[in-house]
């Protein structure tokens, strides 16, 4: 009996759900391992029972909170996928403003009718079993994760930073090309995709377990960023702070 899988989306662009559909060469093999029973982006069925729930998007409304708690009760394994679900990603940038101000900025006078709370990762609301980082998720990492979950293995995430993947590819360090990069403190696993194509890493996969943030702030400043710009680099994908309300 194949494990059943449901995919849910909360606050985000839903691009990580789409990334699953983009695993074109592996999708049929994945469907041999699991049975999809609910996924609004790809099917009309809405099963109420499933073994594995994949969740993209941040939790940012009272409705989200209620729904993700229900999902947690219905599934055996809950796996947030993508930066928004993993560490609140870009969404957490709104948390530094008052929610009233946020609503007014986006919706003007009509804002009052919307329900919004500070954005948080799925793990801040319910216990999770594993999380896939990235904006969007890495397709290879997704497929391997599904396989490992089916085998009963703990999926592997690199504990080392992006620099390792750059070196294995022999990329010229983007700092040496006059650009800026969050790679030295960011968890690898994407194959250093941005530096490989000449851009600095934005840190979408979150920090490594033991990031030397002070060293990196000094490096960014030494290569010419102002203190404000340094913080912008740090905050873009990693501003979620569970000490804030």
């Amino acid at each position: 009996m194949k494990p059943t899988v449901a995919v849910f989306s909360f606050t985000g662009c839903e691009g990580c759900s789409l990334a699953i559909l983009e695993c074109e060469n592996e999708l049929l093999d994945v469907l041999n391992l699991v049975q999809l029973v609910r996924w609004r982006e790809a099917m009309t069925e809405t099963a109420q029972e499933f073994d594995i729930a994949l969740v993209d998007g941040s939790i940012s409304t009272h409705h989200d909170v209620k729904k993700v708690k229900q999902i947690r009760e219905l599934c055996k394994l809950l796996v947030p996928i993508g930066a928004c679900a993993h560490n609140a990603g870009l969404n957490a940038l709104k948390n530094r403003y008052g929610m009233g101000q946020v609503k007014e900025t986006v919706y003007g006078d009509a804002g009052a009718q919307f329900d919004t709370i500070p954005a948080c990762p799925v793990s801040a609301v319910v216990p999770i079993d594993f999380a896939l980082p990235g904006c969007p998720i890495d397709r290879g990492e997704f497929v391997r994760t599904v396989r490992d979950l089916c085998l009963g293995k703990t999926p592997r995430l690199p504990t080392y930073p992006i620099c390792v993947e750059c070196k294995k590819k022999e990329n010229v360090c983007v700092f040496f090309q006059g650009k800026f990069c969050m790679g030295p403190v960011t968890r690898a696993g994407c194959g250093a995709i941005c530096p490989t194509y000449g851009d600095g890493c934005e840190g979408c996969r979150g920090f490594v377990d033991d990031p030397n943030q002070n060293a990196h702030k000094e490096t960014l400043a030494e290569y010419g960023l102002t203190a404000r710009e340094v913080m912008q680099h740090f905050d873009m994908f990693n501003s979620y702070d569970d000490r804030l309300p």
Binding site: E26, D29, V30, N32, L33, V143, R144, R147, C150, L151, R156, T159, Y160, P161, C163, V164, K167, K168, K169, E170, N171, V172, C173, F175, F176, Q177, P184, V185, V208, D209, D210, P211, N212, N214, A215, H216, E218, T219
Partner: protein, 350 residues
């Protein structure tokens, strides 16, 4: 054999001749300030003759970043097949430090269990060495690797006009390579230039404040030094120093099952002792949890542990570790600071 002199045009001709016979790799320019990499040569004109170091040393051709060790098949009749991929290869443009690096790896990979994956690739390599362009991070003279008299087929040293190179032949295969290539005997003046040049190289400014042969003993006095912590404060633990090092050879092994769950492969990938997960074992215990312990371990491994085990240092003085390091953790700086703080007597006066 007497020393020969050949022109740059003849070197390009030699490369063209070798390319007809098989795969040739050579340094290529990469974007950014003074960045080069060994790549497959498709046009003899692309080979860079004068450069400092490549980002990754030539070891990547004998010990690739990712390598399949075996493939397995499950089912009624499970099977396992060892995989050794190797092919004849000419490595052009290898510096003395990197030649030493390869000999250090040869020793390590032949020790205990001879590593077929490495050794077969190495056996099919022919190497043309070339004299380097030192920069502010090199310290080969301190490690005894400024000159080397084996490990190559040919070795090229530019004459002052930079249009001609002195050729030293290091093997029969080297003699074979030179067949059909126009060369002339080096003049007495050119031979004497070579000696002057090498003397200049071994007296380069940047040096350790100790003879390298004393390092293992010296290090016995450094174990508890506060110097480690000071340098580790700015260390990322990103492993760049490990991965770019010509003498680092640690790897991780993992099994990758195919999606059909019927076949899979076991492969190894470069690992590094500066990485946080390197010393974590199955129970979750990590023997070197913090960056200070890892930095100290790396230095001990380079200059003491492997030196003692194999009778030679596992550092070739190429300076890649600091050149590629964003925070410039510099072996010469670290070791000289240790010597300044604790003296040259090591444990004897410690």
């Amino acid at each position: 054999m007497t020393l020969q002199v050949i022109s740059v045009a003849e070197i390009r001709g030699l490369l063209a001749q070798l390319m007809e016979q098989g795969r040739v790799v050579a340094p290529h320019k990469r974007p950014g300030d003074r960045q080069w990499a060994f790549e497959d040569l498709t046009d003899p004109a692309d080979a860079v003759l004068q450069y400092t170091t490549t980002i990754i040393p030539a070891k990547k051709y004998a010990f690739p970043p990712k390598e399949t060790l075996l493939r397995y098949e499950l089912g009624q009749a499970p099977s396992v097949t060892a995989v050794v991929d190797s092919e004849p290869l000419v490595l052009f443009g290898v510096h003395t430090c990197d030649l030493y690096g390869l000999t250090a790896l040869d020793t390590a990979f032949a020790d205990h269990f001879a590593d077929a994956n490495y050794l077969e690739k190495r056996a099919k390599m022919r190497i043309i060495g070339i004299e380097c362009v030192p920069d502010e991070w090199c310290f080969c003279a301190s490690m005894g690797t400024a000159t080397i008299d084996s490990g190559y087929e040919l070795f090229l040293t530019p004459l002052p006009d930079e249009e001609h190179y002195i050729v030293e032949v290091g093997s029969d295969a080297g003699d074979e390579m030179l067949k059909g290539i126009a060369s002339r005997e080096a003049t007495a003046g050119e031979v004497s230039y070579l000696k002057t040049h090498l003397n200049r190289k071994i007296t380069q400014e940047r040096h350790l404040d100790s003879d390298y042969t004393a390092l293992p003993l010296l290090f016995t006095g450094f174990a508890e030094s506060p110097v480690w912590e000071k340098w580790a404060e700015k260390c990322y633990g990103c492993g760049t120093c490990n991965l770019t090092c010509p003498t680092c050879f640690c790897w991780d092994v993992l099994d990758e099952m195919g999606l059909a769950l019927t076949t899979g492969e076991r492969r190894r990938e470069w690992d590094g002792c500066m990485l946080e997960g390197f010393a974590r074992v199955a129970t979750g215990e990590n023997f070197r949890e913090n960056r200070t312990e890892r930095l100290r371990h790396r230095f001990f491994r380079k200059y003491a542990y492997l030196f003692t085990r194999y009778g030679k240092p596992y550092c070739c003085g190429c300076g890649r570790c600091v050149r590629q390091c964003l925070v410039k953790i510099d072996p010469v700086g670290v070791i000289n600071e240790l010597i300044a703080a604790h003296g040259k007597g090591g444990a004897l006066i410690g």
